[in-house]
Symmetry: none
Subunit: 189 residues, 4 copies
DNA sequence: TATGAATGAGCCTTCATTCAT
DNA sequence: AATGAATGAAGGCTCATTCAT
């Protein structure tokens, strides 16, 4: 009757990893992560058999959080523009509220150590939001370009906007607005 | 009067570094880089005193190449749209022609090891192109948003487009077009 | 609760270090020391975070041993001359018994890598012996010269004598005697 | 008809080596020494085929200087005590005037890289001075102990005194006096 | 399960020496 | 003779992972 793995410790490790990866890149050592999490070096490996596993779980955890934010709140209006705008703002809110996670995410994406299936998982979680955006753009955007606009550009633009806000927090409102306008006008047929 | 530093070797090191950083990230070891460049481990350090120096030079070299491409060719028409389109296409061309350099650049940017002055150097080299874009957008874009459009969005969008093309080379034409349209329409007042 | 640090290994490392430093100087590599101690290269650093730390601990360990020898045995007589002589002989005994430690000590002293607080620690350990010598010289030596005689000359002379014995082991008795006479007569008022 | 070796460069290298060895120990790199001497890295090796050769030459050069100082000046009196005292003071003078050389010498002696024949050479140069001391001690010191007093103790004591002065320059007079007294009284029969 | 000591490959850098110029 | 680029073997230290406790 072995002691069960502690959710608490798992989270502590993940949080510590996020912090250190954001700061130091994926080169952050497992030893440092363990210490920051308040667990022993070896304990980390009972929760994540491999550093790669830890990194992948971290990716999943963060992307889940982001997807959740998207799914959690629905716009009250049925106006297409307002609907996309609502999503856009949730995206920006998330980025502003979680600067560390964003940095971590960037490091992870660039690291080449996130497995294809980890990447795919995100698409699934994002599916519902995606559908809402698609409905909102329907009729006013070239249907052939829809995947490009939604899968490639929407998140890409949001990231750029978040970066800009990170550098210039005082401009948050204006950047959010300008970014959204660019997307909305740019995707019109 | 002794053997002069060899431009050839310097370039070989830089090229090898670009290849390996693109593949392995900035964790690519100096030993591997030296071997790939066909020089002794120690030789790398007579050309670049430090790994950080190597990384910064690499950044500078790549950004210079990009800036040069922008500056080298001028549009024939004076039509503003065509002028920006010309620049946009040079950007995409460069990205498609140098996929390794793009990957390297991303790794370097995210690494936190590029010195501020290296980053600033790029702004200077890009200044002329920037001015041309500014002139082209003048009158049709909100002046207050100009810096955001040019400094933040133009290159950002181009990068997203390049990524999309890298994943889907057959769609090059359509992505290039769609990306440009998004920018051009999106930046209208 | 994990495997405890092993006193045994620590000592093996220290002993190996002493041997190699005596022979090769402080340039002796940590790799060689680890191998000689029968532990992995990395293990050395779990016992001594830094080569400098190893060197300082080594210094402390050796000086402690020496100080202990001084403190451990007390002369039976209260005759001042015999008292100093007793100390002098303990000193020489120690040197003869531990030729490697003496060589190591010399290397360490000359290396410039022993921290001031490591040096000071010895003074403290030596304090009791020092007091005994001071009492023995009292009355027959110039009080103003006392610190010079005890702190500077006593140990210095002993070292010279030990060196001479090391070169000429057969002369041990005579050198010991001659050295002591030199000190005793030389410090008379 | 090749260019002859330049005495000047040789000296510059030797001087630079002395400085750096004093500061850094024999670990001082040939590259640093060459740079400090104002010559190219390779040039050092046309003057000294090997680092060991350089170190041995350095030793010889410094010991020669010291021996020369001893031989150069003769005491005016024929009083034995004054004669030894004169020598003792030359020794101390030299040490105080050349702190760097003393440090260098200590490093070299301890390094184990000075060849036996280099060591022997000094004995020869010192022979004349030695004879003078021997004559001065004759009659008042135990003849059997003469070699110990002169070869071992005289220079050893002088070194200790020099060290003490180095630490406490203001006490120069007193230390010189106390050291000499110790030697003189201590060597009486 | 939790701990942290143990491991040895690998990392960046330095170095004495050689050799093309 | 003088120069300094080229070399590859160390050097000190870090790391992901294993395993005794």
């Amino acid at each position: 009757m072995a002691r069960p793995l502690s959710e608490e410790k798992r989270d502590a490790i993940l949080t510590a990893a996020a912090d250190l990866v954001a700061t130091l890149g994926i080169g952050a050592s497992t030893a440092k992560i363990a210490k920051a999490a308040g667990v022993a070096e070896g304990t980390l490996f009972t929760y994540f058999p491999t550093k790669d596993d830890l990194l992948n779980q971290l990716f999943l955890e963060i992307e889940s959080g982001l997807a959740e934010v998207m799914t959690a709140s629905h716009p009250t209006t049925s106006d297409p523009r307002e609907c996309v705008r609502h999503i856009w703002e949730r995206l920006i809110d998330w980025g502003v509220a979680n600067p560390t996670w964003r940095k971590t995410l960037r490091q992870l994406k660039v690291s080449g150590r996130i497995r294809p299936d980890s990447l795919r998982r995100f698409d699934i979680q994002f599916r519902e939001t995606r559908a809402r955006v698609e409905r909102s753009l329907a009729g006013r955007s070239d249907p052939a370009r829809m995947p490009f606009y939604i899968d490639t550009m929407l998140l890409g633009l949001a990231e750029i906007a978040m970066d800009a806000i990170a550098v210039n927090p005082g401009e948050r409102e204006r950047i959010t607005q300008a970014g959204f306008d660019l997307f909305w006008k740019g995707t019109a047929a």
